[in-house]
Protein backbone atom coordinates (compact mmCIF):
# COMPACT_ATOMS: atom_id res chain seq x y z
CA UNK A 1 0.00 0.00 0.00
CA UNK A 2 1.64 3.20 -1.19
CA UNK A 3 1.85 6.00 1.33
CA UNK A 4 3.61 9.33 0.99
CA UNK A 5 3.89 11.11 4.27
CA UNK A 6 5.17 14.51 5.31
CA UNK A 7 5.78 15.18 8.98
CA UNK A 8 6.11 18.62 10.52
CA UNK A 9 7.56 20.27 7.41
CA UNK A 10 9.12 23.68 7.92
CA UNK A 11 10.56 25.93 5.24
CA UNK A 12 11.86 29.49 5.38
CA UNK A 13 12.69 31.43 2.22
CA UNK A 14 14.45 34.80 2.47
CA UNK A 15 13.59 35.03 6.14
CA UNK A 16 9.88 34.49 5.46
CA UNK A 17 8.27 31.36 6.89
CA UNK A 18 6.62 29.59 3.95
CA UNK A 19 5.71 26.29 5.61
CA UNK A 20 5.27 26.15 9.33
CA UNK A 21 4.79 22.60 10.60
CA UNK A 22 2.80 20.95 7.80
CA UNK A 23 1.93 17.27 8.18
CA UNK A 24 0.10 15.34 5.49
CA UNK A 25 -0.40 11.70 4.62
CA UNK A 26 -1.32 10.68 1.10
CA UNK A 27 -2.73 7.18 0.62
CA UNK A 28 -3.16 4.93 -2.39
CA UNK A 29 -6.54 5.10 -4.08
CA UNK A 30 -7.44 8.65 -3.09
CA UNK A 31 -7.61 11.95 -4.92
CA UNK A 32 -6.58 14.62 -2.50
CA UNK A 33 -7.07 18.29 -3.39
CA UNK A 34 -4.64 20.87 -2.03
CA UNK A 35 -6.32 24.26 -1.87
CA UNK A 36 -5.53 27.63 -0.39
CA UNK A 37 -5.01 31.25 -1.40
CA UNK A 38 -2.04 32.38 -3.51
CA UNK A 39 1.15 32.34 -1.49
CA UNK A 40 -0.18 29.80 1.02
CA UNK A 41 2.81 27.51 0.35
CA UNK A 42 1.06 24.93 -1.88
CA UNK A 43 3.73 24.78 -4.60
CA UNK A 44 6.57 24.75 -2.04
CA UNK A 45 4.90 21.84 -0.27
CA UNK A 46 4.47 19.99 -3.59
CA UNK A 47 8.16 20.44 -4.44
CA UNK A 48 9.18 19.13 -1.02
CA UNK A 49 6.83 16.13 -1.36
CA UNK A 50 8.36 15.42 -4.79
CA UNK A 51 11.89 15.49 -3.32
CA UNK A 52 12.88 18.52 -5.40
CA UNK A 53 14.06 20.48 -2.40
CA UNK A 54 14.74 19.52 1.18
CA UNK A 55 12.66 21.12 3.94
CA UNK A 56 14.47 23.11 6.64
CA UNK A 57 12.96 20.76 9.21
CA UNK A 58 10.70 17.74 9.15
CA UNK A 59 10.77 14.62 6.99
CA UNK A 60 9.12 13.11 3.94
CA UNK A 61 8.80 9.34 3.75
CA UNK A 62 7.66 7.05 0.97
CA UNK A 63 6.30 3.78 2.39
CA UNK A 64 8.13 4.52 5.62
CA UNK A 65 11.51 5.08 3.96
CA UNK A 66 13.04 8.57 3.73
CA UNK A 67 12.35 10.08 0.30
CA UNK A 68 15.64 10.63 -1.55
CA UNK A 69 16.22 14.28 -2.47
CA UNK A 70 16.82 14.69 -5.40
CA UNK A 71 14.86 11.56 -6.37
CA UNK A 72 16.76 8.54 -7.72
CA UNK A 73 15.57 6.56 -10.74
CA UNK A 74 13.71 4.01 -8.60
CA UNK A 75 11.75 6.82 -6.92
CA UNK A 76 11.19 8.57 -10.27
CA UNK A 77 9.52 5.41 -11.59
CA UNK A 78 7.00 5.51 -8.75
CA UNK A 79 6.48 9.20 -8.09
CA UNK A 80 5.62 11.68 -10.84
CA UNK A 81 5.51 15.44 -10.53
CA UNK A 82 3.63 17.75 -12.85
CA UNK A 83 5.19 21.19 -12.60
CA UNK A 84 3.14 24.36 -12.62
CA UNK A 85 5.66 25.80 -15.07
CA UNK A 86 4.64 24.63 -18.53
CA UNK A 87 7.73 25.63 -20.49
CA UNK A 88 8.91 23.33 -23.26
CA UNK A 89 12.31 24.56 -24.32
CA UNK A 90 12.75 23.01 -27.76
CA UNK A 91 10.23 22.55 -30.57
CA UNK A 92 9.74 18.85 -29.81
CA UNK A 93 6.82 16.88 -31.18
CA UNK A 94 4.02 15.99 -28.78
CA UNK A 95 4.88 12.27 -29.06
CA UNK A 96 8.50 13.00 -28.08
CA UNK A 97 7.45 15.15 -25.13
CA UNK A 98 5.13 12.43 -23.81
CA UNK A 99 7.88 9.82 -24.30
CA UNK A 100 10.05 11.77 -21.82
CA UNK A 101 7.82 10.30 -19.12
CA UNK A 102 9.39 6.90 -19.89
CA UNK A 103 12.97 8.10 -19.18
CA UNK A 104 13.20 6.60 -15.67
CA UNK A 105 11.93 3.25 -16.99
CA UNK A 106 14.59 2.56 -19.57
CA UNK A 107 18.36 2.22 -19.74
CA UNK A 108 20.35 5.38 -20.43
CA UNK A 109 21.30 4.49 -23.99
CA UNK A 110 18.16 2.66 -25.05
CA UNK A 111 15.39 4.06 -27.13
CA UNK A 112 11.82 3.43 -26.05
CA UNK A 113 10.92 -0.25 -26.35
CA UNK A 114 7.53 -1.77 -27.20
CA UNK A 115 6.28 -1.49 -23.60
CA UNK A 116 7.34 2.15 -23.46
CA UNK A 117 5.64 2.96 -26.76
CA UNK A 118 2.44 1.28 -25.58
CA UNK A 119 2.50 3.35 -22.37
CA UNK A 120 2.99 6.53 -24.42
CA UNK A 121 0.00 5.62 -26.61
CA UNK A 122 -2.20 4.96 -23.57
CA UNK A 123 -1.16 8.27 -22.04
CA UNK A 124 -1.84 10.18 -25.28
CA UNK A 125 -5.29 8.64 -25.50
CA UNK A 126 -6.09 9.17 -21.81
CA UNK A 127 -5.22 12.88 -21.94
CA UNK A 128 -7.13 13.30 -25.20
CA UNK A 129 -4.11 14.34 -27.22
CA UNK A 130 -3.57 11.40 -29.56
CA UNK A 131 -4.61 13.63 -32.46
CA UNK A 132 -1.86 16.13 -31.51
CA UNK A 133 0.86 13.43 -31.67
CA UNK A 134 2.83 14.90 -34.56
CA UNK A 135 2.28 18.56 -33.72
CA UNK A 136 5.16 20.67 -32.42
CA UNK A 137 4.45 21.08 -28.72
CA UNK A 138 5.64 24.70 -28.54
CA UNK A 139 2.98 25.77 -31.06
CA UNK A 140 0.05 24.38 -29.06
CA UNK A 141 -2.45 26.47 -27.14
CA UNK A 142 -2.05 26.74 -23.36
CA UNK A 143 -4.76 24.17 -22.69
CA UNK A 144 -3.45 21.69 -25.26
CA UNK A 145 0.02 22.04 -23.82
CA UNK A 146 -1.32 21.40 -20.31
CA UNK A 147 -2.88 18.14 -21.52
CA UNK A 148 0.29 17.09 -23.30
CA UNK A 149 2.32 17.65 -20.14
CA UNK A 150 -0.25 15.69 -18.16
CA UNK A 151 0.10 12.87 -20.72
CA UNK A 152 3.88 13.06 -20.16
CA UNK A 153 3.29 12.35 -16.45
CA UNK A 154 0.79 9.57 -17.17
CA UNK A 155 3.26 7.85 -19.53
CA UNK A 156 5.40 7.05 -16.48
CA UNK A 157 2.46 5.12 -14.96
CA UNK A 158 3.27 6.35 -11.45
CA UNK A 159 1.97 5.08 -8.11
CA UNK A 160 1.91 8.63 -6.83
CA UNK A 161 1.02 11.70 -8.85
CA UNK A 162 1.75 15.16 -7.52
CA UNK A 163 0.11 17.62 -9.90
CA UNK A 164 0.50 21.37 -9.47
CA UNK A 165 -2.62 22.94 -10.96
CA UNK A 166 -3.38 20.24 -13.54
CA UNK A 167 -6.71 21.84 -14.47
CA UNK A 168 -5.58 25.46 -14.80
CA UNK A 169 -6.21 27.10 -18.19
CA UNK A 170 -8.38 24.20 -19.44
CA UNK A 171 -11.77 24.68 -21.04
CA UNK A 172 -14.76 23.18 -19.14
CA UNK A 173 -14.79 19.97 -21.17
CA UNK A 174 -11.10 19.29 -20.67
CA UNK A 175 -11.23 20.34 -17.05
CA UNK A 176 -13.90 17.68 -16.48
CA UNK A 177 -11.84 15.16 -18.47
CA UNK A 178 -8.68 15.87 -16.47
CA UNK A 179 -10.49 15.55 -13.15
CA UNK A 180 -12.12 12.31 -14.34
CA UNK A 181 -8.67 11.10 -15.33
CA UNK A 182 -7.28 11.78 -11.83
CA UNK A 183 -10.21 9.76 -10.42
CA UNK A 184 -9.49 6.90 -12.84
CA UNK A 185 -5.84 6.88 -11.74
CA UNK A 186 -6.85 6.72 -8.09
CA UNK A 187 -9.38 4.02 -8.95
CA UNK A 188 -6.49 1.98 -10.37
CA UNK A 189 -4.66 2.29 -7.05
CA UNK A 190 -2.57 5.45 -7.43
CA UNK A 191 -2.33 8.20 -4.84
CA UNK A 192 -3.11 11.60 -6.35
CA UNK A 193 -2.43 15.00 -4.83
CA UNK A 194 -3.51 17.96 -6.96
CA UNK A 195 -3.24 21.68 -6.32
CA UNK A 196 -6.61 23.15 -7.28
CA UNK A 197 -8.00 26.66 -7.33
CA UNK A 198 -11.45 25.64 -8.52
CA UNK A 199 -13.48 24.81 -5.40
CA UNK A 200 -16.16 23.18 -7.58
CA UNK A 201 -13.58 20.74 -8.93
CA UNK A 202 -12.30 20.11 -5.40
CA UNK A 203 -15.84 19.38 -4.18
CA UNK A 204 -16.84 17.31 -7.20
CA UNK A 205 -13.84 15.05 -7.67
CA UNK A 206 -11.75 14.88 -4.50
CA UNK A 207 -12.08 12.28 -1.74
CA UNK A 208 -10.34 14.63 0.58
CA UNK A 209 -9.33 18.28 0.64
CA UNK A 210 -6.36 19.78 2.48
CA UNK A 211 -6.58 23.53 2.95
CA UNK A 212 -3.32 25.37 3.39
CA UNK A 213 -3.21 28.87 4.79
CA UNK A 214 -0.11 30.90 5.66
CA UNK A 215 2.06 27.80 5.72
CA UNK A 216 -0.20 25.75 7.97
CA UNK A 217 -2.87 23.14 7.42
CA UNK A 218 -6.11 25.01 8.15
CA UNK A 219 -8.33 22.01 7.49
CA UNK A 220 -7.99 18.43 6.28
CA UNK A 221 -10.98 16.19 5.62
CA UNK A 222 -13.83 15.31 3.28
CA UNK A 223 -14.79 18.15 0.90
CA UNK A 224 -18.15 18.68 2.60
CA UNK A 225 -16.41 19.49 5.90
CA UNK A 226 -13.51 21.55 4.60
CA UNK A 227 -15.36 23.59 1.98
CA UNK A 228 -17.52 25.29 4.55
CA UNK A 229 -18.55 28.93 3.85
CA UNK A 230 -17.42 30.28 7.21
CA UNK A 231 -13.94 28.74 6.88
CA UNK A 232 -13.64 29.71 3.20
CA UNK A 233 -14.48 33.32 4.07
CA UNK A 234 -11.78 33.41 6.78
CA UNK A 235 -9.14 31.84 4.56
CA UNK A 236 -9.81 33.53 1.23
CA UNK A 237 -11.01 36.88 2.58
CA UNK A 238 -13.96 36.89 0.23
CA UNK A 239 -17.56 35.83 0.63
CA UNK A 240 -18.07 32.38 -0.91
CA UNK A 241 -21.65 31.17 -1.16
CA UNK A 242 -22.38 27.46 -1.37
CA UNK A 243 -25.40 26.10 -3.23
CA UNK A 244 -26.32 22.80 -4.80
CA UNK A 245 -27.12 21.85 -8.38
CA UNK A 246 -28.46 18.31 -8.85
CA UNK A 247 -27.08 17.40 -5.45
CA UNK A 248 -23.57 18.61 -6.25
CA UNK A 249 -22.19 21.55 -4.27
CA UNK A 250 -21.31 24.69 -6.23
CA UNK A 251 -19.37 27.69 -4.98
CA UNK A 252 -19.70 31.30 -6.04
CA UNK A 253 -17.28 33.94 -4.86
CA UNK A 254 -18.45 37.53 -4.45
CA UNK A 255 -17.27 40.69 -2.76
CA UNK A 256 -18.54 41.27 0.75
CA UNK A 257 -21.82 43.13 0.46
Amino acid sequence: MTTLEARDIRLTLDGRSVLDGVSLRLRAGEVCGLIGPNGAGKSSLMRILAGLRPPDAGAVTLDGQPLPCPPDAATARRLAYLAQDRDIHWPLTVANVVALGRLPHRGPFRDNGAADRAAVERALAAADCAHLRDRVATTLSGGERARVLLARVLAGEPDILLADEPAASLDPLHQVQVMDLLRTLAGAGAAVLAVLHDLNAAAGWCDRVVMLHAGRVAADGPPADVLEPGLLRTIYGVDIARGTVDGQPVFVARQFP
Binding site: R47, A50, G51, L52, P70, P71, D72, A73, A74, T75, A76, R77, L79, A80, Y81, A83, D85, D87, I88, H89, W90, P91, L92, T93, N96, V97, L100, G101, L103, P104, P108, F109, L149, R152, G156
Partner: protein
Protein backbone atom coordinates in the same frame (compact mmCIF):
# COMPACT_ATOMS: atom_id res chain seq x y z
CA UNK B 1 13.54 16.77 -46.23
CA UNK B 2 13.72 13.05 -47.02
CA UNK B 3 12.15 11.15 -44.09
CA UNK B 4 14.82 8.43 -43.82
CA UNK B 5 17.49 11.10 -43.56
CA UNK B 6 15.62 12.42 -40.53
CA UNK B 7 15.41 8.97 -39.00
CA UNK B 8 19.08 8.18 -39.56
CA UNK B 9 21.02 11.44 -39.92
CA UNK B 10 24.26 9.62 -39.04
CA UNK B 11 23.81 7.39 -42.11
CA UNK B 12 24.58 10.47 -44.18
CA UNK B 13 26.84 12.37 -41.79
CA UNK B 14 29.30 9.54 -41.13
CA UNK B 15 30.07 8.81 -44.82
CA UNK B 16 30.32 12.58 -45.39
CA UNK B 17 32.80 12.84 -42.50
CA UNK B 18 34.79 9.92 -43.91
CA UNK B 19 34.81 11.54 -47.36
CA UNK B 20 36.06 14.85 -46.01
CA UNK B 21 38.66 13.03 -43.91
CA UNK B 22 40.01 11.28 -46.99
CA UNK B 23 39.88 14.56 -48.93
CA UNK B 24 41.91 16.20 -46.18
CA UNK B 25 44.47 13.35 -46.43
CA UNK B 26 44.72 13.60 -50.22
CA UNK B 27 45.06 17.33 -50.75
CA UNK B 28 47.96 19.56 -49.90
CA UNK B 29 50.55 22.00 -51.09
CA UNK B 30 52.98 19.22 -52.06
CA UNK B 31 50.58 17.71 -54.62
CA UNK B 32 51.28 14.21 -53.31
CA UNK B 33 48.28 11.95 -54.05
CA UNK B 34 47.02 9.06 -51.93
CA UNK B 35 48.03 6.65 -54.72
CA UNK B 36 51.56 8.06 -54.58
CA UNK B 37 51.63 7.56 -50.81
CA UNK B 38 50.48 3.98 -51.20
CA UNK B 39 53.07 3.25 -53.89
CA UNK B 40 55.76 4.83 -51.74
CA UNK B 41 54.68 2.76 -48.73
CA UNK B 42 54.78 -0.50 -50.76
CA UNK B 43 58.19 0.28 -52.23
CA UNK B 44 59.72 1.18 -48.89
CA UNK B 45 57.91 -1.58 -47.03
CA UNK B 46 59.66 -4.09 -49.26
CA UNK B 47 62.96 -2.31 -48.79
CA UNK B 48 62.39 -2.27 -45.01
CA UNK B 49 63.27 1.43 -44.43
CA UNK B 50 61.29 4.30 -42.91
CA UNK B 51 59.62 5.55 -46.07
CA UNK B 52 60.13 8.14 -48.78
CA UNK B 53 59.05 11.76 -49.10
CA UNK B 54 55.44 10.95 -49.95
CA UNK B 55 55.12 8.67 -46.92
CA UNK B 56 56.69 11.26 -44.64
CA UNK B 57 54.40 14.01 -45.95
CA UNK B 58 51.45 11.71 -45.34
CA UNK B 59 52.28 10.57 -41.81
CA UNK B 60 53.99 13.68 -40.45
CA UNK B 61 51.95 16.45 -42.03
CA UNK B 62 48.61 15.32 -43.40
CA UNK B 63 47.59 12.58 -40.97
CA UNK B 64 47.91 14.70 -37.80
CA UNK B 65 46.18 17.54 -39.57
CA UNK B 66 43.20 15.42 -40.65
CA UNK B 67 42.96 13.64 -37.29
CA UNK B 68 42.99 16.94 -35.41
CA UNK B 69 40.35 18.35 -37.75
CA UNK B 70 38.14 15.36 -37.00
CA UNK B 71 38.68 15.40 -33.23
CA UNK B 72 38.65 19.14 -32.67
CA UNK B 73 35.64 19.77 -34.91
CA UNK B 74 33.78 16.94 -33.23
CA UNK B 75 34.67 18.15 -29.74
CA UNK B 76 33.55 21.70 -30.50
CA UNK B 77 30.29 20.57 -32.15
CA UNK B 78 29.31 18.15 -29.42
CA UNK B 79 30.23 20.53 -26.60
CA UNK B 80 28.06 23.22 -28.17
CA UNK B 81 25.14 20.78 -28.43
CA UNK B 82 25.52 19.64 -24.81
CA UNK B 83 25.84 23.20 -23.48
CA UNK B 84 22.82 24.43 -25.43
CA UNK B 85 20.84 21.46 -24.13
CA UNK B 86 21.91 21.91 -20.53
CA UNK B 87 21.49 25.69 -20.43
CA UNK B 88 18.39 25.51 -22.69
CA UNK B 89 19.86 28.47 -24.47
CA UNK B 90 20.41 28.43 -28.23
CA UNK B 91 23.23 30.97 -27.92
CA UNK B 92 25.37 28.83 -25.62
CA UNK B 93 28.77 27.69 -26.89
CA UNK B 94 32.03 26.73 -25.18
CA UNK B 95 33.13 30.36 -24.82
CA UNK B 96 29.98 31.16 -22.82
CA UNK B 97 31.21 29.19 -19.83
CA UNK B 98 34.69 30.67 -20.17
CA UNK B 99 36.46 27.44 -21.10
CA UNK B 100 37.92 28.39 -24.49
CA UNK B 101 39.08 31.91 -23.54
CA UNK B 102 40.81 30.49 -20.45
CA UNK B 103 42.44 27.74 -22.51
CA UNK B 104 43.66 30.42 -24.94
CA UNK B 105 44.98 32.47 -22.02
CA UNK B 106 46.83 29.44 -20.67
CA UNK B 107 48.45 28.86 -24.06
CA UNK B 108 49.36 32.54 -24.45
CA UNK B 109 51.01 32.51 -21.02
CA UNK B 110 53.03 29.48 -22.14
CA UNK B 111 54.09 31.39 -25.26
CA UNK B 112 54.80 34.52 -23.34
CA UNK B 113 56.81 32.99 -20.56
CA UNK B 114 59.19 31.38 -23.00
CA UNK B 115 58.39 27.81 -21.96
CA UNK B 116 57.32 27.32 -25.56
CA UNK B 117 60.95 27.57 -26.67
CA UNK B 118 62.26 24.94 -24.30
CA UNK B 119 59.36 22.47 -24.39
CA UNK B 120 57.50 21.62 -27.59
CA UNK B 121 54.26 20.76 -25.83
CA UNK B 122 54.31 23.78 -23.49
CA UNK B 123 51.59 25.63 -25.44
CA UNK B 124 49.03 22.79 -25.49
CA UNK B 125 49.80 21.90 -21.87
CA UNK B 126 49.28 25.54 -20.94
CA UNK B 127 45.96 25.52 -22.77
CA UNK B 128 44.73 22.40 -21.00
CA UNK B 129 45.81 23.84 -17.65
CA UNK B 130 43.92 27.05 -18.49
CA UNK B 131 40.73 25.12 -19.27
CA UNK B 132 40.93 23.11 -16.06
CA UNK B 133 41.57 26.23 -13.99
CA UNK B 134 38.50 27.74 -15.69
CA UNK B 135 36.36 24.84 -14.39
CA UNK B 136 37.64 25.24 -10.85
CA UNK B 137 36.99 28.99 -10.95
CA UNK B 138 33.57 28.45 -12.51
CA UNK B 139 32.46 26.17 -9.68
CA UNK B 140 33.96 28.52 -7.11
CA UNK B 141 32.07 31.46 -8.65
CA UNK B 142 28.79 29.66 -9.26
CA UNK B 143 28.94 28.05 -5.82
CA UNK B 144 26.67 25.20 -4.85
CA UNK B 145 23.86 26.26 -7.15
CA UNK B 146 24.68 25.17 -10.67
CA UNK B 147 21.71 27.19 -11.83
CA UNK B 148 21.62 28.22 -15.45
CA UNK B 149 21.83 31.93 -14.87
CA UNK B 150 24.63 31.78 -12.28
CA UNK B 151 26.63 29.51 -14.57
CA UNK B 152 26.24 31.82 -17.59
CA UNK B 153 27.04 34.94 -15.57
CA UNK B 154 30.09 33.32 -13.96
CA UNK B 155 31.18 32.08 -17.40
CA UNK B 156 30.86 35.52 -18.95
CA UNK B 157 32.86 37.02 -16.08
CA UNK B 158 35.59 34.41 -16.65
CA UNK B 159 35.55 35.00 -20.43
CA UNK B 160 35.92 38.74 -20.03
CA UNK B 161 38.72 38.32 -17.53
CA UNK B 162 40.60 35.84 -19.72
CA UNK B 163 40.11 38.07 -22.77
CA UNK B 164 41.44 41.10 -20.90
CA UNK B 165 44.41 39.17 -19.52
CA UNK B 166 45.23 37.87 -23.02
CA UNK B 167 45.13 41.44 -24.40
CA UNK B 168 47.37 42.57 -21.55
CA UNK B 169 49.89 39.84 -22.34
CA UNK B 170 49.82 40.86 -26.00
CA UNK B 171 50.25 44.57 -25.36
CA UNK B 172 53.16 43.93 -22.97
CA UNK B 173 54.88 41.57 -25.39
CA UNK B 174 58.49 42.74 -25.76
CA UNK B 175 59.07 40.99 -29.07
CA UNK B 176 57.09 41.78 -32.25
CA UNK B 177 57.79 38.30 -33.69
CA UNK B 178 56.41 36.64 -30.59
CA UNK B 179 53.43 38.97 -30.82
CA UNK B 180 52.70 37.97 -34.43
CA UNK B 181 53.12 34.30 -33.53
CA UNK B 182 50.63 34.56 -30.67
CA UNK B 183 48.09 36.48 -32.76
CA UNK B 184 48.26 33.91 -35.57
CA UNK B 185 48.00 31.08 -33.09
CA UNK B 186 44.88 32.63 -31.60
CA UNK B 187 43.12 32.62 -34.97
CA UNK B 188 43.22 28.83 -34.94
CA UNK B 189 45.00 26.54 -37.34
CA UNK B 190 45.64 22.88 -38.03
CA UNK B 191 48.82 23.59 -39.99
CA UNK B 192 52.19 22.16 -38.89
CA UNK B 193 50.78 19.99 -36.13
CA UNK B 194 52.45 16.71 -35.23
CA UNK B 195 51.25 13.34 -34.00
CA UNK B 196 52.51 14.35 -30.52
CA UNK B 197 49.75 16.92 -30.38
CA UNK B 198 47.20 14.32 -31.50
CA UNK B 199 48.38 11.97 -28.76
CA UNK B 200 48.16 14.79 -26.23
CA UNK B 201 44.67 15.99 -27.15
CA UNK B 202 42.95 12.72 -28.06
CA UNK B 203 42.62 11.23 -24.54
CA UNK B 204 41.15 14.46 -23.15
CA UNK B 205 38.73 14.71 -26.06
CA UNK B 206 37.74 11.05 -25.65
CA UNK B 207 37.03 11.39 -21.92
CA UNK B 208 35.27 14.73 -22.46
CA UNK B 209 32.95 13.44 -25.19
CA UNK B 210 32.20 10.30 -23.15
CA UNK B 211 31.11 12.54 -20.25
CA UNK B 212 28.93 14.60 -22.57
CA UNK B 213 27.33 11.49 -24.10
CA UNK B 214 26.57 10.13 -20.62
CA UNK B 215 24.21 13.03 -19.88
CA UNK B 216 22.17 12.60 -23.08
CA UNK B 217 18.94 11.38 -21.42
CA UNK B 218 19.24 14.10 -18.77
CA UNK B 219 19.46 16.73 -21.53
CA UNK B 220 16.21 15.34 -22.98
CA UNK B 221 14.57 15.59 -19.56
CA UNK B 222 15.84 19.16 -19.15
CA UNK B 223 13.74 20.28 -22.12
CA UNK B 224 10.87 20.39 -19.64
CA UNK B 225 12.79 22.44 -17.07
CA UNK B 226 14.96 21.66 -14.07
CA UNK B 227 12.18 20.58 -11.70
CA UNK B 228 10.77 18.07 -14.17
CA UNK B 229 14.24 16.75 -15.03
CA UNK B 230 14.96 16.33 -11.34
CA UNK B 231 11.64 14.55 -10.77
CA UNK B 232 12.53 12.14 -13.59
CA UNK B 233 15.58 11.06 -11.58
CA UNK B 234 18.29 13.28 -13.11
CA UNK B 235 20.09 15.32 -10.43
CA UNK B 236 20.50 18.62 -12.23
CA UNK B 237 23.61 19.73 -10.34
CA UNK B 238 25.50 16.57 -11.24
CA UNK B 239 24.40 16.85 -14.87
CA UNK B 240 25.63 20.46 -14.99
CA UNK B 241 28.97 19.45 -13.49
CA UNK B 242 29.42 16.68 -16.07
CA UNK B 243 28.67 19.00 -18.97
CA UNK B 244 31.07 21.65 -17.68
CA UNK B 245 33.90 19.20 -16.99
CA UNK B 246 33.28 17.33 -20.26
CA UNK B 247 33.39 20.57 -22.23
CA UNK B 248 36.51 21.73 -20.42
CA UNK B 249 38.34 18.51 -21.24
CA UNK B 250 37.21 18.27 -24.87
CA UNK B 251 37.32 21.95 -25.82
CA UNK B 252 40.25 22.81 -23.55
CA UNK B 253 42.39 20.16 -25.24
CA UNK B 254 41.16 21.31 -28.67
CA UNK B 255 41.94 24.98 -28.15
CA UNK B 256 45.24 23.98 -26.62
CA UNK B 257 46.45 22.26 -29.79
CA UNK B 258 44.74 24.27 -32.52
CA UNK B 259 44.05 27.71 -31.08
CA UNK B 260 40.60 29.23 -30.96
CA UNK B 261 38.31 27.98 -33.73
CA UNK B 262 35.17 30.01 -33.40
CA UNK B 263 31.63 29.44 -34.58
CA UNK B 264 31.68 25.63 -34.74
CA UNK B 265 30.24 25.10 -31.26
CA UNK B 266 27.52 27.66 -31.85
CA UNK B 267 26.45 26.93 -35.40
CA UNK B 268 26.77 23.16 -35.81
CA UNK B 269 24.09 22.18 -33.24
CA UNK B 270 21.66 24.55 -34.95
CA UNK B 271 22.37 23.02 -38.34
CA UNK B 272 21.86 19.49 -36.98
CA UNK B 273 18.81 20.15 -34.79
CA UNK B 274 16.14 19.87 -37.53
CA UNK B 275 17.61 16.46 -38.49
CA UNK B 276 16.95 14.98 -35.05
CA UNK B 277 13.53 16.56 -34.39
CA UNK B 278 15.26 18.92 -31.91
CA UNK B 279 15.86 16.13 -29.36
CA UNK B 280 18.89 17.11 -27.24
CA UNK B 281 20.16 13.55 -26.71
CA UNK B 282 19.96 12.59 -30.37
CA UNK B 283 21.71 15.86 -31.25
CA UNK B 284 25.03 14.92 -29.61
CA UNK B 285 26.53 12.45 -32.12
CA UNK B 286 25.35 14.31 -35.25
CA UNK B 287 26.89 17.47 -33.78
CA UNK B 288 30.21 15.65 -33.38
CA UNK B 289 30.04 14.50 -37.01
CA UNK B 290 28.81 17.91 -38.21
CA UNK B 291 31.57 19.74 -36.35
CA UNK B 292 34.16 17.38 -37.80
CA UNK B 293 32.72 17.95 -41.30
CA UNK B 294 32.79 21.74 -40.95
CA UNK B 295 36.37 21.88 -39.65
CA UNK B 296 37.68 19.31 -42.16
CA UNK B 297 35.93 21.13 -45.03
CA UNK B 298 37.21 24.51 -43.88
CA UNK B 299 40.75 23.23 -43.42
CA UNK B 300 40.76 21.52 -46.82
CA UNK B 301 39.32 24.62 -48.51
CA UNK B 302 42.01 26.92 -47.16
CA UNK B 303 44.71 24.57 -48.40
CA UNK B 304 43.32 24.84 -51.94
CA UNK B 305 44.31 28.51 -51.91
CA UNK B 306 47.77 27.51 -53.11
CA UNK B 307 51.08 28.84 -51.84
CA UNK B 308 51.51 32.08 -49.97
CA UNK B 309 50.21 32.98 -46.52
CA UNK B 310 47.54 30.52 -45.49
CA UNK B 311 44.14 31.75 -44.38
CA UNK B 312 43.54 30.93 -40.73
CA UNK B 313 41.11 28.14 -39.89
CA UNK B 314 39.05 30.12 -37.38
CA UNK B 315 38.42 32.69 -40.11
CA UNK B 316 37.36 30.08 -42.66
CA UNK B 317 34.99 28.19 -40.32
CA UNK B 318 33.26 31.50 -39.64
CA UNK B 319 33.14 32.38 -43.34
CA UNK B 320 31.71 28.95 -44.21
CA UNK B 321 29.43 28.69 -41.19
CA UNK B 322 27.94 32.18 -41.25
CA UNK B 323 25.99 31.81 -44.53
CA UNK B 324 24.53 28.46 -43.35
CA UNK B 325 23.55 30.04 -40.08
CA UNK B 326 22.05 33.05 -41.82
CA UNK B 327 20.00 30.77 -44.08
CA UNK B 328 18.78 28.93 -41.01
CA UNK B 329 17.77 32.18 -39.32
CA UNK B 330 15.86 33.23 -42.44
CA UNK B 331 14.12 29.84 -42.68
CA UNK B 332 13.15 29.97 -38.99
CA UNK B 333 11.87 33.49 -39.44
CA UNK B 334 9.61 32.32 -42.27
CA UNK B 335 8.21 29.53 -40.09
CA UNK B 336 7.58 31.86 -37.18
CA UNK B 337 6.16 34.68 -39.32
Amino acid sequence: MIPWFRRHPLAVLLPLTALLFVASLSLGASGVSLAGVLADWRAHGEAGDAGGTAWIIFTEIRLPRALLGLLVGGALGMSGAALQGMLRNPLAEPAVIGVSPCAALGAVIAFYSGFANSLALAVPLGGIAGALIAVVLLFALAGRSVGVLTLILAGIALSSFAGAATSLALSLSPNPYALAEIVFWMMGSLADRTMDQVYLAAPFIAVGTALLLSVGPALDALSLGEDTAQSLGFPVRRVGARVVVGTALAVGASVAVTGAIGFVGLVVPHLMRPLVSHQPRRLLLPSFAGGACLVLAADTTLRLGGPGPELKLGVVTALLGAPFFLGLVLATRRILA
